[in-house]
C-alpha cells in the first residue's frame, strides 16, 4: 500500500517537473524512485520465499545493485532518465519473480496459486517490469518526442500493475481446498446443540 502511495506521488511529481522541463530534478526523483521501488519489490519477494539460497542471492544482488545505482547516480552524464539502473532493476526483479513462480511449483501446495494474494503481487511486478524493460533500456537513445510517444507503454503497464495489486488486495488466502468427496456421516446431531 505504501509503495502504491509513493508510486502515485512519484508519477505526479514527474508530471509536474516534466511540464516545466526541469531535467536534473526529474533525474534525481527517478533515481531515488528506482532504488525505492527495487527495495520494496525485493523486500516483498525476500519475505515470501523461504529458500535460503535465494535469500542469499537476493542479499548479494541488492548490495551490488545499490552500489551500482549510487555510482550511476553520481557519475552518470545523463540528466534525464536513469536508464541503466532501471533496466538492471527490472531484470533482477523479473528473475526473482520467475524464481518465486517456479518455487511455487515445487512446493506441495493444497491451494491454487491464484488464491494466494502474493501471486497477484508477483504477477503485477512481472507484467509491469516486462512491459517497461525495453522502454527503460532504450530510454536514453530516444528523442524526447519519441519517448513521450512511447511513454504510454509505461502508463499502460502502471495501470495494469495497479489493477493486479487491487486483485491481490481483494484476494483472501484460503488455507486449504475443500474436500470434494462425500461426508460419510449424515447424523450431524452435534451441529444443532
Amino acid at each position: 500500500m505504501f509503495y502504491i502511495v509513493i508510486s502515485f506521488i512519484n508519477d505526479n511529481l514527474l508530471l509536474i517537473f516534466n511540464s516545466v522541463r526541469y531535467d536534473r530534478l526529474t533525474y534525481i526523483i527517478l533515481s531515488i524512485y528506482t532504488i525505492f521501488e527495487y527495495s520494496i519489490f525485493t523486500y516483498f519477494l525476500y519475505s515470501i520465499i523461504d529458500n535460503k539460497i535465494f535469500k542469499s542471492i537476493v542479499a548479494i544482488s541488492t548490495l551490488a545493485f545499490f552500489l551500482f545505482a549510487l555510482i550511476a547516480f553520481f557519475f552518470s552524464k545523463q540528466n534525464d532518465f536513469d536508464s541503466l539502473s532501471a533496466s538492471i532493476e527490472s531484470i533482477l526483479i523479473i528473475a526473482f519473480c520467475i524464481f518465486f513462480l517456479f518455487d511455487q511449483l515445487n512446493k506441495p501446495q493444497v491451494i491454487f496459486i491464484y488464491q494466494d494474494p502474493n501471486f497477484w503481487f508477483v504477477v503485477g511486478f512481472m507484467v509491469y517490469l516486462s512491459g517497461t524493460l525495453f522502454l527503460f533500456i532504450e530510454a536514453n537513445d530516444l528523442t524526447k518526442q519519441v519517448r513521450d510517444n512511447f511513454w504510454k507503454i509505461l502508463l499502460f503497464a502502471n495501470i495494469t500493475k495497479n489493477i493486479l495489486f487491487a486483485v491481490a488486495f481483494s484476494t483472501k488466502k484460503s488455507k486449504t481446498l475443500q474436500h470434494s468427496f462425500e461426508d460419510p456421516f449424515d447424523d450431524n446431531i452435534l451441529d444443532n446443540t
Binding site: Q109, I113, G131, F134, L142, N149, L177
Partner: protein
C-alpha cells in the same frame, strides 16, 4: 503501429522497443499462464490421490467392522450353542428330584454334572484364549508364535517352524497382539488356501524396524494379487490384515521366492514408543 509510423528517424530503435516490449509481455504472460495450468494439474492429481486413499481407508474400515461383527457372532454362537446346552444339561442333573433319588443315583448325577461343568469351564477357557492367548500376554510374541506353530505341527498335517533371531526386548502388548493376529490370519489363509507342506517363520530386527517373514511352498499371493483382492469387495481377512498393520504404521509384502518355489510374506513394523502407539489408536478410534 502508431508508434512505428510516427517515428521515422528512430525507426530501428522504435521497432526494437515495440517488438521487445511485446515479446517480453508475451513471455511473462505465457509463463504465468503455464504456472497456473501446471499447478492446477498437479493439485487435481493430488486430490484424486487423496480421494483414492480415502476410499481405500473406507473399505478397510468397513472390512474391520465386518470382521469384528463376525468375530462377535462366532463368540455368541460358541456360547449359545456349546456353553448353553452344557449348562442346561448340568442343571437337569442337579434338579430338585435329586434329593429323592437313592445315594448311588445321587452320586452318579453329581459326577455327571461335575463332568459337564468341567467341560464348560474348558470351553469358556478356549473361547477366552482365542480372544487373548495367555502365552502372548504372559510370555510375549515369540512364545505365543512358538506355541501356535507347535500346535499346527502337532496336528501332523504340515510342518511348521519358527525362529526369532533378535527379539530380546518385547514390543508393547498392543503391538504384540496386533502382530500376532496378523500372523494368525496369514497362517489361517495358508492352511485354508495354499495346500502347502511347510510354513517357516523368521523374525529379524533392522534399525528401528521389526521384520517377520513367512515362507511356504503352496499356492500363494503376489503383491499384485494382494492389492487386487484388497480393492475388491472380497478378501475380508486381507483387508483386516491391512487395517491392523496400518494401526502400527506397518507394511506387508507378498512375493514369490527367487527360485519360484516358495511364496514369501514379509511384515515390516516400526518399533514405536508406547505414547506414539496410543496416539495412533486415539486417532483411529
Amino acid at each position: 503501429m502508431i508508434f512505428l509510423n510516427a517515428n521515422n528517424p528512430d525507426s530501428e530503435v522504435s521497432l526494437m522497443l515495440f517488438f521487445g516490449t511485446i515479446g517480453m509481455l508475451v513471455l511473462a504472460i505465457g509463463m504465468i499462464v503455464f504456472i497456473i495450468f501446471h499447478q492446477r494439474k498437479v493439485i487435481r492429481y493430488q486430490l484424486r490421490l487423496q480421494k483414492l486413499e480415502y476410499e481405500q481407508q473406507k473399505t478397510l474400515l468397513n472390512a474391520s467392522i465386518r470382521f469384528q461383527e463376525e468375530e462377535r457372532q462366532r463368540i455368541a454362537a460358541d456360547l449359545h450353542d456349546d456353553a448353553g446346552p452344557l449348562l442346561a444339561t448340568a442343571r437337569l442333573y442337579l434338579n430338585e428330584n435329586l434329593v429323592n433319588l437313592d445315594k448311588t443315583a445321587q452320586l452318579q448325577s453329581i459326577y455327571n454334572a461335575k463332568q459337564i461343568i468341567d467341560d464348560t469351564i474348558q470351553l469358556i477357557r478356549n473361547i477366552s484364549h482365542s480372544l487373548m492367548p495367555p502365552t502372548l500376554k504372559n510370555f510375549g510374541l515369540e512364545s505365543a508364535v512358538n506355541d501356535l506353530f507347535q500346535k499346527i505341527s502337532g496336528s501332523g498335517s504340515l510342518n511348521a517352524s519358527c525362529r526369532f533371531h533378535d527379539y530380546r526386548e518385547r514390543l508393547q502388548p498392543d503391538q504384540e497382539l496386533i502382530i500376532f493376529r496378523v500372523i494368525q490370519e496369514l497362517i489361517n489363509n495358508i492352511l485354508k488356501h495354499s495346500n502347502s507342506s511347510f510354513i517357516h517363520l523368521t523374525q529379524n530386527l533392522s534399525g528401528s524396524k521389526l521384520y517377520i517373514r513367512m515362507h511356504h511352498d503352496g499356492r500363494g499371493l503376489t503383491q499384485a494379487d494382494f492389492e487386487k483382492l484388497n480393492k475388491s469387495s472380497g478378501g475380508l481377512g486381507l483387508k483386516n490384515i491391512q487395517s491392523r498393520l496400518k494401526l502400527l504404521q506397518g507394511r506387508i509384502f507378498f512375493e514369490k521366492d527367487m527360485s519360484q518355489t516358495y511364496y514369501k510374506v514379509t511384515i515390516e513394523v516400526p518399533k514405536t514408543e508406547e505414547m506414539t502407539l496410543k496416539e495412533e489408536q486415539a486417532v483411529t478410534y
